[in-house]
């Protein structure tokens, strides 16, 4: 017989109510899904907000703001598609795609929100003016000094207090940022777009929190990369995106996990897995594997019961010519 076909042709057709079959499967899914929805509802977990984070971790919040201001934050030095940084560039494709969603972390994450708050809080304007009129070297010195000082800072009476030192206007500015954060207004200031009244783009809000705040949040730890990331839900006990198990597994491979281009590697290898799946019919050997595995004998158990086991292939094909549907 033609090895390309490799199929029996001597089978019978039996009566079938196809419409009933379709409505039956639909009914099964509706019942299962409704039952699951009634019993388990939704696995929603409260997101991390700037208000929540700045209230719970005021000193760390000021550290986040300071890292955005001094260019040491992850987004400040990320690279394309946000800026010319180099901290997160994994491939030439990333460079080639260019800067599509520009972010100047110091301006967009700190200075602009503070300028918006000037009219509400008069202490901001002179401090901001002092900072902006200082030389780059002076700003860098204040930032370096205050970065160290924040490690010993405490939170008292609603403000962060650092040991005395040469910080310029930074303590005032960062406590103003803290007040803005605790008020809940910071997020709105981050995603403001004066050209439109809609707020579809939450980029700067989410990316502001993407470093320490989200990475150290106890609620995200079960979803972290080394813990098989995305396949886990935010609430234990619920299913996550378990269909991403293979890419998540690839992320665990040591040479991928330890690479500075782990995302590019994991996704590329994952795509090769998909390609192998998609091209299965045309991959010699692999496309004959199921026959050797023999699972089909269980699936077609009833059919094979009534089939002569030792029908020579030629006879199968002859029979098929007579009975093929």
């Amino acid at each position: 017989m033609n090895p390309r076909d490799d199929v029996v042709k001597n089978y019978r057709m039996v009566p079938e109510d196809f419409v009933k079959h379709l409505f039956s499967t639909l009914a099964i899914v509706i019942v299962v899904v409704l039952l699951a929805s009634i019993l388990f509802n939704l696995p929603e977990k409260q997101p991390l907000t700037i208000k929540g984070y700045s209230t719970a971790h005021p000193v760390q919040f000021e550290e986040v703001v300071l890292r955005a201001l001094d260019g040491q934050g992850q987004i400040a030095n990320y690279g394309p598609p946000y800026n010319h940084g180099t901290g997160n560039v994994e491939s030439f494709l990333q460079q080639w795609a260019g800067i599509l969603h520009p972010i100047n972390a110091a301006q967009d994450f700190v200075i602009k929100p503070l300028k918006m708050a000037e009219s509400l809080n008069p202490t901001i304007a002179p401090a901001l003016k002092t900072f902006e009129h200082a030389s780059k070297a002076q700003q860098a010195l204040w930032e370096a000094n205050y970065t160290k000082a924040l490690q010993h800072a405490t939170y008292k009476n609603g403000i962060v207090v650092a040991p005395p030192g040469n910080y310029g206007p930074l303590p005032i500015l960062l406590n103003d940022a803290l007040a803005l954060g605790k008020s809940g207004l910071y997020s709105g200031a981050l995603i403001r777009n004066p050209k439109v009244i809609t707020r579809f783009d939450n980029q700067n809000y989410v990316l502001f929190l993407q470093g320490t705040p989200l990475q150290t949040d106890p609620a995200t730890q079960s979803m972290a990369g080394p813990n098989w990331g995305i396949i886990h839900p935010a609430i234990n006990g619920y299913p996550g995106a378990w269909w991403m198990t293979i890419p998540t597994w690839i992320y665990q491979w040591p040479f991928v996990a330890n690479s500075s281009a782990s995302d590019a590697l994991a996704l590329s290898i994952g795509f090769l897995f998909w390609l192998a799946l998609a091209l299965t019919p045309w991959i010699p050997g692999w496309n004959r594997l199921p026959r050797y595995l023999g699972v089909h004998r269980l699936i077609w158990r009833e059919f094979y019961k009534n089939q002569p086991v030792d029908t020579p292939p030629a006879a199968v094909e002859e029979g098929g010519r007579e009975h093929a549907s």
Binding site: M13, V14, T25, H101, A241, V309
Partner: protein
């Protein structure tokens, strides 16, 4: 070269025929639960589209302040779990039965493409939900897209993700699923392997093919 109109007419006659879509008999081997998995996957997709229309009509954050919409969002959530669950079982069934045989390679390829498109379709839905899972996966997954030069897909842009999840990806997925099912109906489901012994198996009688 063959006449394009004649060829199109022949193809359309088959694709648009009630005989193709409403068969009254099936091959004897295509019976039982194993042959419900594709339909169960398609049925889950129907449930997803219906619950998704209700969600789209009311807004992606309506679950957060309206208990009826919260229930619809739950139906949508469990619908996607059912969709992938049945799709995965269907994938195992078609793999173990070598469903690409007899000129059915394109049917298999379309199914694989549907699986590939289904992943970002589901993912963009998780992103517009607005809870911690959305927030976490936006910041985690953006690095992968950026690294592959796909930075124009801005996961933190809810408007873009809404459009992707509600229009672009489901439309693509619907087309690919429709083509996949059309191929299944026109080519029929793959017949069993010939019942002969193959190397490495221990069934009685027969010769290796």
């Amino acid at each position: 070269m063959a006449n394009w109109t004649t060829a199109s007419k022949r193809m359309l006659s088959e694709v648009m025929s009630a005989e193709t879509w409403l068969p009254t008999e099936m091959p004897e081997y295509a019976q039982g639960f194993m042959y419900m998995l594709g339909s169960l996957t398609a049925s889950s997709f129907v449930v997803l589209v219906l619950s998704g229309i209700l969600l789209a009509m009311n807004g992606p954050d309506s679950w957060s302040y309206n208990s009826a919409m919260r229930f619809i969002a739950a139906v949508h959530f469990w619908g996607v779990q059912a969709f992938f669950f049945f799709m995965m079982l269907h994938l195992w069934r078609v793999f173990f039965t070598g469903a690409w045989r007899g000129g059915r390679g394109l049917t298999w390829l379309l199914g694989a493409i549907a699986f590939l498109i289904a992943i970002p379709t589901a993912f963009t839905g998780f992103l517009i939900n607005g809870d911690l899972y959305s927030e976490w996966n936006i910041v985690q997954a953006k690095d992968g897209l950026n690294a592959m030069g796909l930075g124009w897909v801005n996961l933190a842009n809810s408007g873009q993700m809404f459009g992707m999840h509600v229009v672009v990806l489901p439309l693509l997925l619907t087309i690919v699923i429709a083509l996949h099912i059309t191929r299944v109906r026109t080519k029929s489901v793959v017949p069993p392997y010939p019942n002969v012994k193959v190397k490495g198996q221990t069934e009685k009688g027969g010769s290796a093919s």
